[in-house]
Symmetry: C2
Subunit: 630 residues, 2 copies
């Protein structure tokens, strides 16, 4: 094998070649025994033949009297057969009677048929009279009796290899007295996290040093378990490359498959390359699929090795597309059924990169109940894309574009994925967060008022949430709204004695603003304009005087948190946020939050539920300081 360097992704393998390379790996496939009580969801490793007859005895299947059928021949309501009662047999007890000609014994459902008897007359068709029993019907041999082995007999094939064990199979295994079940072993999948910047959730994070939490390890581990594998997380090696090599070798020894997800650190990737080449074989590097260029497939010691891309959505997409099927195969688990949906593209989307594209998409139902499909691609490693997408559309390399309205098939992330009941876009607002809690499966993207209106107009979103300044210029239905008090968030106790907007302009205070997408920013700019007018200045004059006017952050709490961290003196924000974070607050007014719906979507259950929740606003956000129902 020739040496490959990180940059040599010239000859990308086709997706089919990648599948073949992965299929050529051995991911385990052994078997193990588990107790019956733990067998649910596992897959039988071998055929189970009945080891005994079920039932193990001729069994009364009704309450009544055990008889010799020939003694009842000709009996009917008018002319019952009269038999001597010689005893009784109950379930779970060995019979202590034999039935001779002209005799019968009381018998309970489930009891052993006494010797001599070959049928049961059900109790409803009998009368007891003078210690004898009148049979008001004739029975044939075998009536109301389940013969030994009639359910399943010793030696019969009960369950085949590959059967997934559900409650029903557990029932049959119980009936056969199977205590220990031979099942397919779960492939052991070692997960190695690389990258100097990664920190495991629960550990402390140094953002200033560019540390981020390790997303892929737990995400991929959960994917491995969904696919029927056993995930083994190895400790994070950080920037200690000897340790990384040691962990890779250890994982390869202990597992059937080792997965790493691409590091952004070149040297970490080089270590993996070197170890795979020295102690195994690199079968494939780079696949002509977006996102899959950095994918690696090979062998490491006796184990299989696959390297996933680094960005979480890419890593999970490539995992689900290429790796999960191989793990399921090795585990004997069948692919989830019906995990696709057909819908129409909500927008036109261009391609033409010459690579197969696995495009993450979201789903939304339009007013007619038809499914719309829209691309979700925040790029740059956004982790929120993970939950904002519902599945993937496979776009072939020669597709130049998908047109709006074109029908596409979506591979859902799991069979139980359903479109949101309401899809909202717009302002970030704490009262809204609570309202959404009252709705089943809502989806909401905080994109600001203006962008929210744009997406509502596009026909993708069901509702847009706006604040001051966001007035729709197209047909909408207003669902309702509320007001919120906004102003300047300052240090606790207001040590700088900020009294209002003028202090921000006239004094040297460090300010943190919101971005132009935020409605709060519009309220702030409007207030500045008013002050400028009062002073006979331009708004630009005031803006230039504010230190940090251009320092914008994304969400409604973000400026306040910078104040709390001591990185600013004043932040634009809400009274509710200031009180939540125990900060001071200088009120500048109230602004109206309004919720507008696409008129075609008002009868969607989630939209109706949102309207109801807004009407019930007092109950939902009465304890949020500065919030009031409109």
């Amino acid at each position: 094998m020739v040496g490959v360097s990180r940059k040599e992704f010239r000859d990308l393998a086709s997706p089919e070649e990648a599948r073949e390379a992965i299929a050529s790996l051995n991911l385990g496939g052994g078997s193990e025994s588990v107790p019956l009580a733990e067998a649910r969801g596992r897959v039988l490793a071998e055929r189970i033949d009945a080891g005994m007859d079920v039932p193990g005895f001729d069994r009364a299947s009704m309450d009544g009297y055990a008889v010799r059928a020939r003694d009842t021949f000709g009996a009917d309501e008018a002319d019952p057969a009269v038999l001597d009662l010689v005893g009784a047999v109950h379930a779970g007890v060995e019979p202590d009677v034999e039935i001779a000609e002209g005799e019968c014994a009381e018998i309970s459902t489930g009891a052993v048929m006494p010797s001599g008897a070959d049928a049961v007359v059900i109790v409803e068709r009998t009368d007891e009279r003078d210690g004898k029993i009148e049979m008001r019907t004739a029975v044939a041999p075998g009536d109301s009796v389940m013969l030994a082995g009639a359910d399943i007999a010793a030696g019969e094939r009960a369950l085949g290899p590959g059967t997934r064990i559900t409650p029903r199979e557990i029932g049959l295994l119980s009936a056969l007295g199977v205590e220990s079940v031979p099942v397919r072993a779960k492939p052991r999948v070692g997960i190695i996290s690389t990258g100097d910047e990664l920190v495991r959730p629960g550990q402390s994070l140094n953002s200033a040093a560019g540390q981020i939490f390790d997303v892929n390890s737990y995400t991929v581990a959960a994917g491995v378990e969904d696919a029927g594998g056993e995930a083994v997380l190895y400790p994070h090696a950080g920037d200690d490359y000897d340790e990384m090599e040691r962990l890779l070798t250890k994982a390869a020894t202990e597992c059937d498959l080792v997965l790493s997800s691409g590091s952004t650190s070149a040297s970490a990737v080089d270590v993996i390359y070197r170890v795979v080449e020295e102690q195994g074989e690199l079968l494939l590097h780079g696949v002509a699929v977006k996102p899959g260029k950095p994918m690696l497939v090979g062998r490491l010691e006796e184990s299989a090795y696959i390297g996933l891309p680094g960005y979480p959505v890419s890593a999970l997409t490539i995992f689900q597309t290429f790796v999960a099927p191989a793990i399921r195969d090795a585990a004997g688990v069948q692919a989830p059924a019906a995990a696709t949906a057909r819908g129409k593209m909500a927008v036109r989307e261009r391609y033409g990169e010459g690579r197969m594209r696995l495009m993450p998409v979201g789903l939304v139902e339009d007013g007619a109940g038809d499914l719309l499909v829209y691309p979700v691609d925040k790029g740059s490693g956004a982790t929120t894309s993970l939950v904002e997408a519902d599945g993937v559309v496979v776009v072939h390399p020669d597709t130049a574009f998908l047109d709006a309205g074109e029908e596409v098939e979506v591979d859902l992330f799991s069979p139980d994925v359903r479109p949101p009941t309401v899809f909202g876009v717009g302002e970030d607002d704490p009262a809204l967060s609570r309202l959404l809690d009252r709705i089943e499966r809502p989806r909401y993207l905080s994109v600001g008022s203006r962008e929210g209106l744009r997406r509502l107009r596009n026909g993708i979103a069901d509702v847009a949430v706006t604040t001051t300044g966001g007035e729709p210029e197209f047909d909408t239905v207003e669902l309702g709204g509320w007001t919120r008090e906004w102003g300047l968030v300052v240090q606790a106790g207001n040590p700088e004695n900020v009294a209002g907007l003028a202090d921000l302009v006239d004094r040297d205070l460090r300010f943190i603003n919101r971005g132009t997408a935020a409605g709060l920013r519009t309220s702030f700019t409007d207030a500045l304009a008013t002050l400028a007018e009062e002073r006979g200045q331009t708004r630009h004059d005031l803006v230039s005087a504010i230190s940090g006017f251009d320092l914008t952050v994304k969400a409604h709490e973000s400026p306040a948190r910078k104040v709390a961290d001591g990185r600013a003196d004043v932040g634009l924000g809400l009274r509710a946020t200031a009180e939540k974070l125990d900060l001071g607050f200088v009120s500048l007014g109230t602004e109206q939050v309004r919720v507008f719906a696409n008129p075609d979507r008002v009868s969607k259950p989630g939209v109706a539920a949102l309207e109801t929740a807004i009407e019930d606003g007092d109950a939902v956000f009465a304890d949020l300081p500065g919030f009031e129902t409109a």
Copy 2:
């Protein structure tokens, strides 16, 4: 509450009343914290807002050079901007440079943007020359940079209550550094097994005393876990009613819901009635649904109580229909999606009992890929019905019959239920068992040759397997076959010196026969006829002389097992069985096993796979004594 006795099922509640009674019970619904690594499949108990910005810093999203965007204005391939290289920033490391006018720093994807820089020029658009960096493109502020909080910002709504945690949600929770996840608590469901005759799998079984393995406890426990509950199995109290009362009370104290499955023992049911009435409240006894008549709903101490029917298929059907939805509600788990299928009734089926019927059905695809639905009702507590059915058709009380060809909706037992790839019926045969192991999802019912042919002709089954005497009188395609050596199975070492059929007729040997459905029985009867002819006797003369000719058992191994148990001297059977059980064997000949397919179904994948497996018979059953490919 007035006393109710076991017989008082006169006023059956409607299914809706049963659902309402169950809905009125409190099945838990609390919350608990679990580590992120164990959160997969759980349901969020409360909203998760972002507790931090992600990313926590302005982050380079490409490899390249961190610059002040304004320094690149106007740069292009022909006229690059030349900047001084003042340092490098790598992922996971705090920048030790600041970028002033005319300067740049090398930067890796994921690294913190150094102070002063506001954009990244990707490495592919740069050249290093004489220690300076040529930027061959202009960039705008923010290009190739992900701003702090751009993915999700502190205070933003990340995930709503009720969200099911899949790998994707685990990804977002990881990104937010959430170590411990607030999830809905699993309702604790106590399972009490009643009935003197029940023995737990793994314990020894006394069939003579009518003992059977406890099927419902493990089956229902698995159903509880599928529905998101935690199953707690209580020890079996047997016939000790004080102990049963103690266990019921204990379970009610420890669990949110106590389930018992109906005992066939009247006294056990009476104990349950009494305990529920004394220590709780009986809300409902008996539901107008078949099977559901014996269903009980009530409260026991602070817990909910539901009594299920005793027969396994009934218990599981009632559990899935009435109880599982309530457990899912309490656990916050959504109902499995798309767990229905539409198909056509394969046969006419009568009803008219005035009760709603939950009819277990099997599915099979016809040659055109259409789904046929046939009733599976072996009754009498058969446990094999559990795995021979794929779902349930709800038949309304006023339905007199379902006609053949009528379209029905099937509630599948689980969303991943799929019809078998091949549905076979006929002889029970050990070579066939092995052939079926080579096929994915086969279904096979051992009903004997004649019944097998009848069901093939009916258009339900795909293939029938017959032995001697089973010659189809309708259009079929023969897929192939094999031969098997049959004869008399005797004690090991043949202590009775059985030499052939004549010994059975002339001596006083205890014989065990197969039923008339078995092809083996036909071979045996034919051999007797030949002997009778040789002797100038009638076959009836010979039959009368055989002690046990009418003692018939179900499966191919059953007679041999009676011999092994010492309960017979001679059993009808196969050489393979005799050798498997280390018994003696007296050969009486070979018989042909033939496999016939419905001509419309030959191209079904499972039928084709069976044909291939038969052709490959040498590899499959070469080591089965007495078996040969035809």
